[in-house]
């Protein structure tokens, strides 16, 4: 089975906590995690509801392989309607929280309603209790984590928590678990705080049994681990450099969005990439990177554990930051670095710490600061709004200040908490917002990697690299090399990546395995663990069904094909240097074919035929 087959429903309005049986028909159709929780969400909320109102629900959800020995089998997701985009939100996190929830005997938790005063949920195996969190409200994630550990006297408790930014309404707040792992994107933390829910703490001692075919599961997971170990990316690149292995690579191919995506190459890239994290610094001879760390069950261990130079201006008077904690991964390093023009690795690491400490999505935060810097340059924002701070591209001081203000939700930090789209609208220059459906771009410029333009434009949660990572094919040649500057043939590639990723997410595995694993490596693991036949074909089918379910939710929420687009800058302003010089993204060439492959109408809407084909709920 591998599903525990039961979940918790927590009504925050009434305080009622009930146990419910998992809908196994839905589990067979949608597998788990992302897919299954979205099925519940579609069933239980009005897609048009106010994302920050009590009618929205928030689901913390695991997959059937979460809590197993399958490599990377430790993931959970948070599914709800997003306040940033108005689309379905689904943010995936690693660490140890998801597996612990499984060990306590639960596949998911559905939170509904809104508590009258701040609360947190405590789970010890079968016993779930809502407890007052008045003393935790107003505290950072790191402070709250300490207080909860002290109170419960259990060092092995796993904690997921929101920070001050979420309480203050920052629209891209994350839920942070295990101090530095986050369900990061689309403002899922903001939704949690809107329900007056500060934290969820879990202790699971029941363990996970009931693997369908234990002997075969041992064998296929072992084989699959070997594939990861033998692969150059998952066996060497990621452990040594983390996802930061990409910084110099992406810069060289001319797809590193720079200074609010005005340029596609950053002169300071090598100062903030994976290799730079290994360089001993002058002050104490230690490198930024202390070691690599893994999420539960992960045999890749891409996680960065880093320190900040104690003599750096950001922390020299703040010994509380002289610790090791989660360091820079590529997307964060890009948003905080190249996109703001800052090449100071200690400033980036400090801001990354703050993003973890107060629960902010570093991609959205960095991109919003980048937009604010361009607004400042044009004069739309002045020192009047910033309280005297020169919010200039390249200013590490300004970046650190912006992070501190946004983390606390004070002063100009309130504006920054709006996200790039609303910020640029507020200051009269919507064209400067580098977003799709209101969500900020990640670190791949679609002028230099054509397929990513289509992936961003059509991703069901707004601009996102984790919904269809064609970078794997276009740059790294996985599973086979395609030309990044060619838009021809990308529609099929994007669709295949989108469907496969939906299935991988829903299994409870980390998408980084797919640098090495194909569905032929993944399906046997699901098949050995779960009842029913889980072939590669069925996994792809389930992935496509999930994709269409999400799409249908968005359509009912009022998102249309017109929203499947990119900012003008990427469609009209050509890249000025590097291999992509002279190129724009050719979205208009790819989109019609994509809609056709998906079975949507030419304007990008879901058709009744496609809805019926996938037996989507009406």
């Amino acid at each position: 089975m591998s599903w525990t087959r039961k979940f918790l429903r927590v009504n925050l309005t009434s305080g009622a906590i009930t146990e419910e049986a998992l809908n196994m028909q839905w589990a067979h159709d949608y597998l788990g995690q992302r897919g299954l929780a979205t099925r519940y969400l579609v069933d239980e909320i009005d897609p048009a509801c106010d994302a920050l109102g009590p009618d929205n629900k928030m689901i913390m959800t695991t997959g059937p392989l979460t809590g197993t020995i399958a490599s990377t089998g430790g993931r959970y997701s948070v599914v709800c309607k997003s306040p940033l985009t108005g689309t379905v939100a689904c943010s995936n996190s690693g660490g140890f929280f998801g597996a612990e929830l499984k060990f306590a005997g639960w596949d998911m938790i559905i939170f509904e309603g809104k508590a009258a005063t701040p609360m947190y949920l405590s789970i010890e195996d079968d016993v779930a209790t809502l407890l007052p969190a008045d003393d935790l409200w107003g505290k950072t994630v790191w402070e709250a984590d300490k207080m909860l550990r002290q109170k419960h006297q259990d060092p092995q408790t796993k904690i997921a928590c929101v920070g001050r930014s979420a309480e203050e309404g920052c629209l891209y707040s994350a839920i942070v678990n295990d101090l530095h792992r986050a369900a990061g994107r689309s403002g899922v933390g903001t939704v949690m705080a809107s329900k007056n829910l500060k934290a969820v703490i879990v202790r699971g001692t029941k363990g996970l049994g009931g693997i369908q075919d234990p002997k075969r599961f041992l064998q296929v997971t072992k084989d699959a681990k070997k594939v990861l170990a033998d692969n150059a990316v998952t066996g060497q690149g990621l452990p040594a450099y983390g996802t930061q292995v990409l910084m110099n690579v992406i810069n060289e191919v001319g797809a590193l969005p720079t200074r609010n995506m005005r340029e596609t190459q950053f002169e300071g890239a090598s100062n903030v990439g994976g290799e730079a994290m290994h360089e001993p610094r002058k002050s104490d001879g230690k490198p930024n990177l202390t070691t690599n760390g893994a999420c539960f069950s992960c045999t890749i261990a891409c996680g960065r554990i880093s320190t900040i130079d104690r003599t750096h201006f950001s922390v020299k008077d703040k010994p509380e930051y002289w610790i090791n904690s989660g360091g820079l991964e590529y997307e964060a390093a890009w948003a905080l670095g190249p996109d703001t023009g800052v090449d100071d690795i200690d400033a980036l690491t400090y801001v990354n710490f703050l993003c973890n400490e107060d629960g902010m999505d570093p991609i959205s935060f960095g991109s919003t600061v980048a937009a604010a810097m361009e607004l400042f340059e044009t004069g739309a924002i002045t020192t009047e709004q910033t309280g005297g701070v020169e919010l200039k591209f390249g200013s590490a001081e300004a970046l650190c200040w912006a992070a501190e203000m946004t983390a606390k939700g004070e002063g100009f930090g309130i504006d920054l908490g709006l996200g790039s789209k609303r910020l640029c609208e507020k200051y009269g220059k919507p064209e400067l917002s580098m977003t799709v459906k209101g969500q900020e771009f990640p670190a791949y410029d679609p002028r230099g990697i054509q397929g990513m333009g289509l992936a961003y434009a059509t991703a069901n949660r707004g601009a996102c690299h984790l919904r269809g990572y064609t970078v794997a094919s276009e740059i790294l040649g996985i599973p086979e090399k395609t030309d990044p500057l060619e838009s021809d043939g990308k529609a099929g590639l994007v669709k295949a990546f989108q469907d496969a990723t939906a299935a991988v997410d829903s299994a409870g595995l980390c998408v980084f395995t797919t640098f090495a694993w194909t569905m032929d490596d993944i399906a046997p693991q699901v098949d050995a663990a779960c009842e029913g036949d889980w072939s590669t074909e069925r996994m792809m089918e389930v992935g496509e069904r999930i994709w269409n379910l999400e799409k249908d939710f968005n359509q009912k929420a009022g998102i249309t094909g017109a929203d499947d687009t990119l900012p003008e800058r990427l469609l009209k302003e050509a890249a000025n240097t590097g291999p992509a010089k002279g190129r724009v993204n050719e979205l208009d060439k790819m989109l019609p074919e994509y809609y056709q492959l998906r079975g949507y109408s030419t304007d990008g809407s879901m058709t009744d035929e496609t809805r019926q084909k996938w037996a989507l709920p009406s």
Binding site: G209, S297, I323, S325
Partner: protein
Amino acid sequence: MQKSLHIDPAKCTGCLQCESACSLVNEGTVNPAKSRIKVFSFHDEGRFVPYTCTQCDEAWCMQACPVDAIVLNPVNGSKDVLSDVCVGCKVCTIACPFGTINYNTSTGKVVKCDLCGGDPECVSACPTQAITYVDANATGLDKMRAWAMKTDNAGA
């Protein structure tokens, strides 16, 4: 040759594959809470340290047990708990200076590492070779090798 677990914390990533393997073989479920090897994460220091029973020669737990429920396994040198003899008095848990023998509330007996009868599962599960099973007479061999390399002055 008698063998011993050898732990190199510097290689550990904190993935807990060892805890899962240990609980799976001993408890039948993946359940790190019931693992006999524990991996400690010292967050602020950025260190992960696996820790378990070192199979003391004159084992405190074995000496303390009033009913002789802990016995020497002559083949691999482990000190094994005889579950049907153990009365759950927990005296051994007090006697052990290292905390590596623990009471299991669901069975009412104590549990400790028994080297899986000579083929430790944590060793096979560890993806980084942070835990190895080596000649008990030379657990320091790899450290000696590392230092020996540094004393080579051939290139000087």
